[in-house]
C-alpha cells in the first residue's frame, strides 16, 4: 500500500495526461497524417504484451520469488480464470470464478 496519499494524486494526474495524449494525438491537431502500416502493426501487439507482463508476475511470484507450484493459490486461481475467460468471454464469470478458486484453494490448503 502506498503510504503517501499525495503519490496517488501525482499518479492520477500523470495517468490522465497519458490517457488524453494517446486519444488526442491526431484528433486535437486536426491532423491529416496517416499511420504507416509498420507503426500500426507495432501498436496492435503492445496492449496484450503489457497486460501479460503485469498478469504473469502477479500470479507466479510470491514476495519477489518464483512460486510456480500448485501450493500457490493465486497461480491456481489465475489459471482457472484464464480457462473461464477463454470458454465464456465473460468478465463477470472470470472474476467470480477466479475469486471462488482462490478461496477454495486457500480453504483446502489450510
Amino acid at each position: 500500500m502506498a503510504g503517501d496519499p499525495s503519490l496517488g494524486w501525482v499518479l492520477i494526474a500523470g495517468m490522465g495526461l497519458a490517457a488524453f495524449c494517446a486519444r488526442a494525438i491526431f484528433v486535437l491537431p486536426g491532423s491529416r497524417l496517416r499511420l504507416p502500416p509498420a507503426a500500426e502493426r507495432l501498436l496492435r501487439h503492445a496492449p496484450a504484451a503489457a497486460l501479460m507482463a503485469i498478469i504473469v508476475p502477479d500470479l507466479a511470484l510470491v514476495q519477489g520469488a518464483w512460486a510456480i507450484s500448485i501450493d500457490n493459490p493465486r497461480l491456481v486461481a489465475g489459471l482457472a480464470a484464464f480457462a473461464i475467460a477463454a470458454a465464456t468471454r465473460s468478465i463477470l464469470l472470470t472474476i467470480a470464478g477466479g475469486m471462488l478458486a482462490l478461496t477454495l484453494v486457500r480453504v483446502l490448503a489450510g
Binding site: P5, R23, G30, S31, A48, A49, A53
Partner: protein, 238 residues
C-alpha cells in the same frame, strides 16, 4: 444556440446504438471501483481517477503495480502502453473531426472509448460527408462515460464495506485476464503475449521497472516476428 433536428437525431442514434455496450461495461466499472479502493487509493482518489483518466484497462493495469509500490514512471509508461490502441483510433477519427473547433476536438478525444469507436468506424466510412456524425459519436460516448462513472462509484463505495481478508485486490488481476483474452485472438499475438509473460518472470531479478519494460518490448518483438513468419494466418481472418 438551438440544436438542429439532425444533431439531436444523430445524438440519439449514437446513444441507442451504444446502449447494449453498457451491459458489458457496468459490471466492469463496479469491479474497477472495488479494486481501486482495495489497492489503497482513497475513495476520493478512486472517483477522481475514473473521471480524469477514464480508461478502464489502464486503471486496472496500474493497480498491481501501485500495490507493490512500483516507481511512478513505470506506472505512467504502463498507462501509455495499454492505451496505445487509442493512437490508432485517433488516427482514424482525425479526418472525421477535422472541421470542428478545438474545444470540440478536445472533448471528443477525452471521451473516446473502444466500443463507440468501433460503432462509429462501422457507421461512417472514411470520407463520409454526414455533417452531424460528431453528434453520433458524442451521444454514444456520453452514455458510456455516464455509465462508467456511475458504476465505478458504486464499486468505490461498496468496496469500502468489504473486509480486507477477502483479497479483493486480486479482482483487478482477474479483470486483466478477462481483458487480455479477446486481444489474443490471432496466433502472432498469442506468441507475443506468452513471450511478454515469460520475460517478465525471467527478468524478476532486474529492478522491477526494467523487467516490465523488457517484457513488453520482447512481447512486441516476438509478436511482430511471429506475424511475419505466418502472414497468411493473420490476414486470413479478414
Amino acid at each position: 444556440m438551438r440544436f438542429q433536428p439532425g444533431q439531436i437525431a444523430a445524438f440519439r442514434e449514437g446513444a441507442l446504438a451504444s446502449a447494449p455496450l453498457l451491459v458489458g461495461m457496468v459490471p466492469w466499472g463496479v469491479v474497477a471501483g472495488v479494486a481501486m479502493v482495495a489497492a489503497g487509493l482513497t475513495q476520493a482518489q478512486a472517483v477522481a481517477m475514473s473521471v480524469i483518466v477514464f480508461a478502464g484497462s489502464a486503471q486496472l493495469a496500474v493497480l498491481p503495480l501501485f500495490i507493490v509500490e512500483a516507481p511512478i514512471a513505470v506506472m505512467l509508461a504502463t498507462t501509455l502502453v495499454v492505451n496505445l490502441r487509442y493512437v490508432i483510433y485517433s488516427a482514424v477519427l482525425a479526418p472525421h473531426f477535422q472541421h470542428l473547433s478545438r474545444p470540440w476536438r478536445g472533448l471528443l478525444s477525452y471521451i473516446t472509448v473502444d466500443g463507440v469507436f468501433a460503432l462509429f468506424a462501422g457507421r461512417f466510412p472514411p470520407g463520409d460527408q454526414n455533417p452531424h456524425k460528431h453528434w453520433y459519436f458524442l451521444g454514444g460516448s456520453l452514455l458510456m462515460w455516464s455509465g462508467w462513472q456511475a458504476s465505478t462509484c458504486v464499486g468505490v463505495f461498496a468496496g469500502g464495506l468489504i473486509p480486507k481478508g477477502w483479497s479483493l485486490e486480486f479482482a483487478s488481476t482477474l479483470g486483466l485476464i478477462a481483458l487480455v483474452m479477446p486481444l489474443i485472438h490471432d496466433r502472432a499475438v498469442v506468441w507475443g503475449a506468452l513471450a511478454a509473460g515469460g520475460v517478465a518472470l525471467l527478468a524478476v531479478r532486474l529492478p522491477f521497472n526494467l523487467g516490465l519494460l523488457a517484457a513488453i518490448a520482447a512481447g512486441i518483438a516476438v509478436g511482430l516476428a511471429a506475424a511475419r513468419l505466418a502472414p497468411r494466418k493473420e490476414t486470413g481472418k479478414e
